[in-house]
């Protein structure tokens, strides 16, 4: 049941689930099921698995390498963030790339399936030196797993694209974390983050690639990521949900 006229216009001023009616009535059947449906989508996103073969095909000509954290199943992944940061398997050559892209499942398989390949292609168009370089596909990944992978491959900088924790309104949002001189034990203050990459009012792939290009260029110029690198990019960034 939508808010009674003339309140619908007011309800449009916020993405919050406002009811705008007095009387302390229970939620309507429709509101109850809409909420349950949104929660179900978030739950399914968290417990779903990425189709890595399909992702590799969507990356077309780009070669892929596979890696996995020590968090081998979903319950372990959720309980033990330390294991999700530890590299357990992966035949990773020490190829010393200047910029290594890692795609991790994180907390949303649909985010990876919907956003990762188009974002990688948008980045390759802006950074032609990435063309032909392997992309690492990482299972059971937390953000910091990128540090271990980057260190193993001798990367100067690692860009981790990872599924964000689903909210009730958006379940397929991707986050991108840029870390220079990756090595295990780094704190989150050593990274820069571009979040809310999705097609439902978030940053679209081209806008996200523009912001990442700015951060990558600036990180190369000043030789650092994290708190030393302030995001002064001109690109207007809509806040999540705005």
């Amino acid at each position: 049941m939508s808010a009674p006229d003339p309140w619908a216009r007011l309800a449009g001023l916020t993405p919050a689930r406002v009811r705008l009616r007095a009387g302390m009535r229970p939620v309507s059947m429709e509101e109850l099921l809409t909420f349950q449906q949104d929660h179900a989508a978030a739950r399914d996103a968290i417990h779903g698995a990425v189709d890595w073969a399909a992702l590799a095909r969507a990356l077309h000509s780009l070669p892929v390498l596979h890696a996995a954290s020590a968090a081998t199943d979903r319950p372990t992944y959720l309980r033990r963030p330390d294991l999700g940061r530890r590299l357990a398997e992966g035949d990773l050559p020490c190829s010393r790339p200047d910029l290594l892209i890692v795609v991790g499942d994180g907390l949303s398989a649909p985010a990876v399936m919907a956003q990762a390949a188009p974002l990688v292609h948008a980045l390759v168009r802006r950074l032609p030196e990435l063309d032909g370089q392997p992309i690492v596909l990482a299972r059971g990944a937390r953000v910091a797993l990128g540090d271990a992978i980057g260190q193993a491959m001798g990367a100067a900088m690692v860009l981790m694209l990872i599924g964000e924790r689903p909210g009730l309104s958006v379940a397929d949002s991707l986050g991108a974390y840029l870390t220079r001189a990756p090595r295990t034990g780094l704190r989150d203050s050593a990274r820069n983050c571009v979040s809310n990459i999705h097609m439902n009012g978030g940053l679209d792939h081209e806008a996200a690639a523009d912001r990442l290009l700015w951060l990558i260029t600036e990180a190369r110029r000043i030789g650092a990521t994290g708190i030393a690198l302030k995001d002064d990019s001109a690109a207007a960034t809509p806040l999540p949900g705005a």
Partner: protein, 458 residues
């Protein structure tokens, strides 16, 4: 260092120190397992409780779980301990203390007088020997009343925080959420925004907007923008209308350092808040938030279990005479509280421990999407807390916080709790609801006039 031994079903277990006993005696939770301090088996957990049962309460005054020399929270707890208040229970073991708490001798007056004589560690220890019904039964006997523009915590009163967060801090979007909450009778604990941006100009603008809304409708409540205590001090200097000063606090000096605070900073903020004299019926100006797992999250847990550290955070809060203390129980995620069962237990523990230490405890009955919990678990916890006498709960439009990305209670859940428990809002706020025609099921206010006063096009 003392080692401890106890048997369960003929098997003997050894514990290296008091912290190990406390951790092993805690009900199972993922955060203690992540920290590597949890019991290895269910039998070991019972053995640890046998140790605690026989342990003299007074031991906690001599055997600091976090070193006195290196931790200012321990120094605050030990130096501030009131031995005269402790005297009635000074000779009891933790097990005897549990029995006494459940007896009629531990009535409202006795528990109020005892609070300054208890340390957080004593309270945490006894909670580990208590079932959920024990935690409810004892907490229900305690009343902690605080006041600013209304009086919270009195008999038969349960308040709520109206949390009108907006992902872009849009003032009109916030006003709509405030209107939504007021129409459903929420907001007597505080109308409090978690800002999306801590930018000072942004926080100042939101404080001004909230204060104008409150004044326009003459609402007997207080407002707050939940930004860092140092920001609040700057905003006070700039003349912003600051009712309550907010800060997240934790149970160790190192974890508080992770929040960018010291006890001295909290004392300065407390004095600055008092100097404004904005309260009309009381002078409680601080609003603290806590949550099990924050110390481990900051790698500052000293091998102590998360529930004991949470109680120590209340040891910090009680030094500053707060209006509100809120444990954000299910916010931190499954690596600390895995599922609905662990969240419900933690919520009842936190409420009990805070009340025992004399705090005006509220609970954010909440969960994130990656926890094994749903709105049914929240119904359970909220219903139990209402029975336990919780001072206030948090409420957001439709149970969905669109800025922080988690689920709490909805405004209509407050109406449910009032219906099944007969609890009422703070008296001044209840009178205001009555005057606006918002107090009853059949009442019809003029929402258009309210919207206009909140600066909204109606």
């Amino acid at each position: 260092m003392t080692t401890y031994r106890a048997s369960a079903r003929g098997e003997t277990f050894r514990f290296d120190d008091l912290a190990a006993v406390m951790a092993a005696a805690s009900p199972e939770r993922s955060g203690d397992q992540l920290a590597g301090v949890a019991a290895d088996s269910a039998l070991q957990r019972v053995a640890a409780r046998r140790v605690l049962m026989d342990l003299p309460l007074a031991n906690f005054l001599n055997d600091a779980l976090v070193p006195y020399e290196t931790d200012e929270v321990t120094r605050l707890i030990i130096d501030g301990h009131d031995r005269a208040a402790f005297a009635p229970v000074a000779s009891m073991s933790v097990g005897e203390f549990r029995d006494w708490l459940l007896s009629p001798a531990a009535d409202r007056a006795a528990l109020r007088a005892l609070a300054p004589g208890l340390t957080p560690e004593m309270v945490a220890a006894v909670s580990k020997l208590m079932r959920n019904q024990d935690l409810i039964r004892v907490a229900r006997k305690i009343r902690v009343e605080t006041a600013f523009r209304n009086r919270i915590g009195g008999p038969g009163v349960m308040a709520s925080r109206l949390q009108p967060n907006h992902p872009a801090d849009d003032p009109r979007g916030i006003a709509v959420a405030v209107l939504d909450g007021l129409l459903q009778g929420a907001g007597d604990a505080v109308i409090g925004i978690n800002p999306a941006s801590d930018n000072l100009g942004n926080c100042h603008a939101m404080l001004t907007a909230l204060d104008e809304m409150r004044a326009a409708l003459d609402i007997p409540t207080q407002t707050c923008v939940l930004t860092h205590v140092t920001n609040a001090l700057t905003l006070i200097e700039r003349g912003a209308p600051v009712d309550l000063i907010f800060q997240s606090v934790a149970g160790t000096e190192a974890a508080n350092d992770g929040f960018g605070i010291t006890l001295a900073m909290l004392a300065e903020a407390h004095q600055a808040g008092l100097s404004l004299k904005r309260g009309t019926v009381g002078r409680n100006v601080m609003y603290f938030e806590t949550g099990q797992g924050s110390a481990l999250s900051a790698e500052a847990h000293h091998g102590v279990d998360q529930q004991t550290l949470e109680a120590r955070a209340y040891g910090v809060a009680r030094a500053f005479d707060p209006l509100l203390v809120n444990t954000v129980v299910g916010f931190i995620g499954p690596e600390y509280l895995f599922d609905g069962k662990q969240i419900i237990r933690a919520g009842l523990e936190d409420h009990f421990c805070g009340k025992m230490l004399g705090l005006p405890m509220g609970v954010d009955v909440c969960y994130t999407n990656h926890v094994e919990a749903d709105q049914d678990d929240m119904d359970n916890l909220a219903t139990l807390l209402a029975q336990a006498g919780v001072n206030f709960v948090i409420a957001v439009p439709g149970a969905d916080d669109v800025m922080l990305g988690y689920q709490s209670l909805a405004f209509e859940d407050i109406a449910y709790l009032r219906e099944v428990t007969c609890l009422t809002p703070a008296p001044e706020f209840a009178a205001w609801l009555q005057a606006f025609g918002l107090a009853g099921r059949d009442a019809l206010p003029d929402p258009g006039a309210m919207a206009r006063k909140l600066g909204l096009p109606a």
